[in-house]
């Protein structure tokens, strides 16, 4: 919204943007990031989604002077250049406790103790990559900082990574810097969190857990890779919760540890690995990053036939996805992820089902009513969303508007091929788990390591 205003300003067209009071701090971060810190803003007090029509009208009337001032009177405020440290500048010398305090005070840590990033430690990470320290991997909005290889190493040190993780850290940042990932929306109110998935030989080399407790903090590689990404988003993308700004996750969640697949189990089933599903070979080391906005309950399923498991998966994984599917429909793209327990995958595969068969089953059997979809979208803020209009606009397929009956059912999964399926977890139990992604925000991106 502010980015559109900035484009207009740069095209010589004055703008004013309407921003609600709770988002003013985030607006300041975005305005600075787009290089126009004086972007005029008219401040709407409160929360429009809980205002009735009378309140909206009253507030807009009160807002008019700010709108007019923004369009007809605003001027650039003179900016004072603030010198920032260079990569090798020593910003402080101190004991471990003093370093922790400094990083906490400056909002440079995630609230946990950090490993002090000394030049010596950073260089040990840089020695693990052929990339130049000053190479810019991408620009990370909203703060719009250059994601340099040096900054990746610094944050990798702080997060407790080992130097040999460095190629994975670079691939993670390459993934989130891709436009389709939309890192600029990583501070949106749903409070989604990236999930790193490591595939191929490097997962074994770095000792990533893919078995029992795979998503629990505890294994160094899984944990520190996940922590690194949250730290990097704070420090380089500028996504900080209060007393910082930029991250407006309303309730949000903590970082996900990195996930790895039980690739031997997957191969034994004759199924392609998750990495292969992303277009790579099993010999490729690959990092995939996607958003996770919520997690299903543990999905226990029993039986000796694929259908018995598929029914439960459709009910529980599909149920976990249903509420949020409305936003997936609005943007016609989302990529939920199903982590299948090895024993369950074994039954499904032994019954002759491929991953595609399971995806097709989920697509055909997980539905909500059109009324639910439009109602859920409305609650989030998509006040003008209708399935009919999206079908007419060519955003959704015709199956979403087969009649005008609000009780007609529509598929929860817009594109079955986008359902990720990965085998991991406890081989000694019959449990799976689903990860709901945040539609086009945090779209699945894979990078070869």
């Amino acid at each position: 919204m502010l980015r559109a205003a900035a484009i207009a300003e740069r095209a010589g067209v004055p703008s004013v943007s309407i921003v609600t009071t709770p988002f003013m701090q985030q607006a300041a971060v975005v305005s600075k990031g787009v290089g126009l810190p004086s972007l005029p803003i008219a401040e709407y007090p409160g929360v429009p989604m809980t205002d009735g029509s009378d309140a909206v009208a009253r507030k807009i009337d009160a807002l008019l002077p700010q709108i007019v001032a923004g369009l007809a009177g605003a001027r650039d405020v003179a900016r004072t250049a603030v010198a920032e440290p260079g990569p090798r500048d020593i910003v402080a010398r101190g004991t471990l406790d003093e370093v922790q305090e400094l990083y906490h005070e400056n909002l440079w840590s995630d609230g946990l103790p950090v490993i002090p990033p000394t030049i010596d430690r950073v260089e040990r990470f840089l020695a693990q990559t052929r990339r130049a320290p000053d190479e810019v991997i991408g620009r990370l909005l909203p703060e719009n900082r250059a994601a340099t290889v040096w900054s990746i190493a610094v944050n990798g040190v702080m997060a407790g990574c080992r130097p040999e993780y460095m190629p994975v850290l670079v691939a993670i940042v390459e993934a989130i810097a891709e436009p389709i990932f939309r890192v600029e929306d990583a501070g949106s109110t749903p409070g989604w969190e990236p999930l790193v998935i490591v595939s191929g030989p490097i997962a074994r080399r770095l000792d990533l857990n893919h078995g029992q407790g795979v998503m629990r903090v505890g294994r160094q590689a899984n944990t520190s890779l996940g922590r690194f990404l949250r730290l990097y988003l704070r420090n380089v993308a500028g996504l900080r919760i209060p007393p910082g700004a930029g991250d407006k996750g309303s309730i949000a969640g903590s970082f996900n540890v990195a996930l790895a697949e039980d690739e031997d189990a997957s191969a034994a089933l004759g199924w392609p690995t998750f990495g292969a599903d992303q277009g790579f070979t099993r010999d490729d080391s690959v990092v995939t990053v996607q958003s996770v906005v919520s997690i299903s309950p543990p999905i226990y399923s029993a039986g000796t036939r694929a259908l018995e498991h598929a029914r439960i998966l459709a009910e529980v994984f599909g149920g976990a996805c249903s509420y949020w599917s409305a936003i997936g429909m609005k943007y016609a793209r989302w990529e939920p992820l199903l982590v299948l327990g090895p024993s369950i995958a074994r039954v499904i595969a032994d019954d002759g089902w491929s991953k595609e068969d399971l995806r097709r089953y989920l697509h055909e059997h997980v539905t909500i009513t059109a009324r639910q979809a439009e109602t859920y979208a409305l609650q989030v803020g998509a006040t003008s969303f209708t399935l009919d209009a999206h079908v007419k606009a060519g955003v959704l397929p015709a199956s979403y508007a087969t009649s005008s009956d609000p009780e007609r059912t529509v598929p929860v999964f817009v594109q079955p091929e986008k359902i990720g399926i990965l085998v991991a977890g406890d081989p000694g139990r019959n449990q799976s788990k689903g990860y709901v992604n945040n539609h086009i925000q945090g779209g699945r991106v894979s990078k070869r390591v």
Binding site: V19, L36, A74, E84, G86, T95, Y103, E143, T383
Partner: protein, 105 residues
């Protein structure tokens, strides 16, 4: 005998700013007769808010005209990047003298 606690020389964990320099567009001091484009992210009641603004500004500024949000499409989400690329041309094409962008929430 006590051993001295180690001290660490530490570096900055942020990265260089990549924000492009820029300045606001020049403003006219009068909105009479001007064309205002409506940029909407298709969220948070813009379909209520823009008509209210239109009515109020039309009452104050004779000759003011609006290019309504449907002309541009959503500024957020699926088509955002495409719109960003075409927006300067669209603003020229529709003769926009100013824009109102909403709703940030």
């Amino acid at each position: 005998m006590t051993s001295a606690e180690p001290v660490y020389d530490v570096v900055w964990p942020l990265a260089p700013s990549a924000a492009p320099p820029g300045s606001l567009a020049a403003r006219s001091q009068d909105l009479r007769g001007k064309t205002v484009g409506e940029l909407w992210d298709y969220l948070f009641k813009g379909e209520e808010i823009f008509p209210l603004i239109r009515t109020a500004l039309e009452a104050r500024y004779p000759g003011i005209r609006f290019v309504e949000f449907e002309t541009f499409g959503s500024t957020h989400g699926r088509d955002e990047k495409e719109l960003a690329a075409t927006l300067p041309g669209l603003l020229r094409q529709h003769g926009c003298d100013a824009v109102i962008s909403a709703v940030g929430a």
